[in-house]
Amino acid sequence: MIPSYVPPKYKVEVDPNKCMLCERCTIECSWGVHRREGDRIISYSNRCGACHRCVAMCPRDAITIKENAVSWRSHPLWDIDARADIYNQAKTGCILLSGMANAKDHPIYFDKIVLDACQVTNPSIDPLREPMELRTYIGKKPKQLEFEFVEEEIDGKKIKKAKLKTKIAPNLKLDTPIMIAHMSYGALSLNAHLSFAKAVKECGTFMGTGEGGLPKALYPYADHIITQVASGRFGVNEEYLMKGAAIEIKIGQGAKPGIGGHLPGEKVTAEISATRMIPEGSDAISPAPHHDIYSIEDLAQLVRSLKEATRWKKPVFVKIAAVHNAPAIAVGIATSDADAVVIDGYKGGTGAAPKVFRDHVGIPIEMAIAAVDQRLREEGLRNEISIIASGGIRCAADVFKAIALGADAVYIGTAAMVALGCRVCGRCYTGLCAWGIATQRPELVKRLDPEVGARRVANLIKAWTHEIKELLGAAGINSIESLRGNRDRLRGVGLNEKELEVLGIKLAGE
C-alpha cells in the first residue's frame, strides 16, 4: 500500500483528568476516532473531520479538537491544500471527492454589499405595529391584466362592471421567501427530510425532494414539496409528479456545474431502491446531460410534457448552475413555458463533488442574480417568470440582498442542515455523518429526531423571517414586492467599478 504523506488535519485530545471512561465518544464517533484502551481513551486524529459529535456529546467536556499545528514550510503558491491534494492523488490515482461548499478564498459579494435604511424624511416602519408582508407567489404572471365589462343588474339598476378576464396560472404561495433546497433522499437521511418537511409545512413554505424521488413517509407533506426531475429520472412517474406542489427540472447544480451525480451502491438501501426505482445496492448515476435535452427547444418540450402530464396544474421550474451565460439561458427558460428559473451559485453545497469542480467551476450567485434579472428585464420577460436564487445563502441579510438584487425567493440548503446540527465537516459523501443527516445507517439516522429537527429548522426560518421584516421596516418598505429588484437600497463597499456595474448598484456614499 502506498502510504499517505499527509499529516492529520486536526488533533484530538482527551483530557484524562476529566474523562470518566463512559465510552460515549467511542460510540458517537462514526469515523472511529476514539477507542478505549485500558483506562484511557485513545484518539486517532487522522480519522477526525471535526464534526464535533464527540465534543457535543461528551458529558465531561473532556475532548478538544484543534487544527493540527504541524508546520509546513510556508509558501504563497504551494499552500498546504495544494500539497495535500497532490499527496492524496499520488496515493490513490483518483479524482478527489469533497462535500459541502466551495472552499476557496473567493470574495463573498454579499459581504461587500450593505443595506440602506431610513432616517427622518422617510420614516422607518415598525414591524411589530404595522403590517409587513412577505407573502410571495412563485410562478407565471401575466404580462398585463385584461378586463371585460359586463352589465349587471344591481338593485334594479343596470350597471357595467369591470371583470377580470385574465386567468392567473397556478403559483406557489410562500408565506416567507425562504424555501429549502433540493437535497436528495439518499444523500440525506429520511429523518433529515422529515425534519424539513414538517418545518416547511409549519412555516408556509416549500422544500425540494432533490433527485431521489419522494419517499412515502413524505406524502403527508407533499403539498409543501417540489419534486425534482433530474437527468437520472429517479423515482419519476405520474404519481410522483402529481403528488408534489410543483416540479423542478434540474439541469445543473452550483457546486458542480456541467456534471451529473453519483450515489454509491452501498447507500442504495431497500427503502431508497424503492423510492428511486432502481435495484438495491446498485450505483445511482445521473448523467451530466439529460439525454433528451440537447437544446433549449428540447428543454421546452420537457417543460411542456411535464405540464401535460400534470394537466397544467403544477408550476414547472428549471434549475441551472450559475455560469457566465446564465442570463441567456434564463431568457430561453422564460420563453419555454417554465414558471421559474432557479439559479444555483458556485458557493452552493453538495453531498459529494469532485473537489476540482466544487472549488473552480461556476460564478458567484450575487452576480448571476443581478445579470439574469437585468437581462430578463431587457427582454421584457422579468414579470412573467420568477427567479429563485440559491447557493451560499447564510443569513437573513443574504436573503434580503438576493431579493434586492432581483430574486423572488431563495433556497437554503447548507443553512438548513446546519440548523439540524451539521458542522460543515465536508464528509457527507462517506455516508458516515455522525449527526444522522447525510447517512443511511439506521443507528446514525435515529440520532436525528424529526420532531426536534423540524423545530430547529422552523425556528431558523422564522428567525430569518423576523429579521427580514425588521430590515424591510428599516428600509421603509412594508411589502416584499417593493424590495424585489430594488437595487437602490443596496450599496457596494470595496468593489471596483466593473463589479458594481454587473451588480447594478452604487458605491457607498453615492
Partner: protein, 362 residues
Amino acid sequence: MCGIIGFMSRKKRMIKGDKIALALDSLKERGNGKGSGYVGYGIYPTKYKDCYAFHILIDNTPKFEKIKVEVENVLEQYGTIVKDEEIPTEDGIIEKTQIPWRYFYEVDEKYADREEDVVVDIVMEINDKVDGAFVISSGKDLGVFKAVGWPNEVAEFYRIDKYEGYMWLAHARYPTNTKAWWGGAHPFNLLNWSVVHNGEITSYGTNKRFVEMFGYKCRLLTDTEVVAYILDLLMRKHKIPVEYALSALAPRFWDEIDKMPEEERELHTAIRLAYGGAMLNGPFAIAVGTPHGLIFMNGDIEKDTTMFGLTDRIKLRPLIAAEKDDMIFISSEESAIRRICPDLDRVWMPDAGMPVIARPWK
C-alpha cells in the same frame, strides 16, 4: 415635508391661476424655497386646444440655441411644430437657470393609430438624449410651470394669474433626496397625467426598473417621475380601470384580500401578482390630474376630467379632501383649502390607501 394642493370644478368652470397660487402660498412652510410648480388644465382653450403642448426646460447657457435645435430635430421627426415661443416670464424674480419654451405640436397623420405612444417616445428621447433639455409637460390643453423658488415667486415668475383652468394642482417642495433643480420640481407630467407628491418612494428602485421594462426612462432624478409613468402604463396602455390601477399603486393588504369574496379576491391577487413592481412603498400622498382617456368601472371611455388623491397604505403622509358646490379640493392641509374657500360643505380625511376620485358632472 412638501405641500400639495389641487382643485377641480366639476362643472368645468374656468378658475384663474391666482387662486391656486394663493392656496399654495399657505403651504409655504412645508417647502423650503427649493422648488414649486403648478399645472393648469384647460389653459389653452383657443386655437391650440387640440395640439400637444410641450413645455420644455432648456439650459440657459451659451449652448441654448444648439440644444433647442436638437429638441426641434426630435419633434420634427414625428410631426409638425404649429407654433413655438418662450413661455412668458417675469425677470428678476428667480435665477433663470433654465429657459422654459413651449411648442404646440401636431403628430404626423401616419402615426394616428399610436399618437400617444409617439408623444411618450418623444418625451423619452428628449429627456434621455438631448443634453440640457427636459420635457416637463406634454399633454393637450394643459401646462406645467415649475422652477426652483418659493411658491409665490414661481407663480409670479410664470404669471400664473394670467392663465385660467378648470383644474389646478400645485406643489411646494422640500427636496430631501436629490438636489434642487427645475426639472426635479413637481408636478411631473406625461401626456395628460400630472402628479404632485408629498413623500419619498422607498420602492423607487423597483418601480423604476419595472417601468423601464416597458420603455420608460427615468431621467428627472426624482422619485415622483416614476408615478406618472406607472399611471400611463397601467391606465392608458394596459387599460386598467382606475380604481384597480390605484389599487396596484397601493394594494390591499393580504389579510384584507384573504377575507374578500372569491371573485374580488382573485382580482386583487391578480393585481398584486401582475403589478407588484408598480406598488408604491414608503410615505406618500399623491394627487393626480387627468382630463381624459380613462376607462372607468362602468366600462365607458371617459373623455372628461378626473382628479384623484391617494396615500400610502399606512398613511404616513397627510391628505385631506373637501367639497364646496361644484368644487373638489385635495391638499396636505385644510388651511390651504380654507385660504381660498373658507366655507366648505364637507371636509374629510381619506382612509389609508383609499383613493379619492373626482369626476366631472355630466
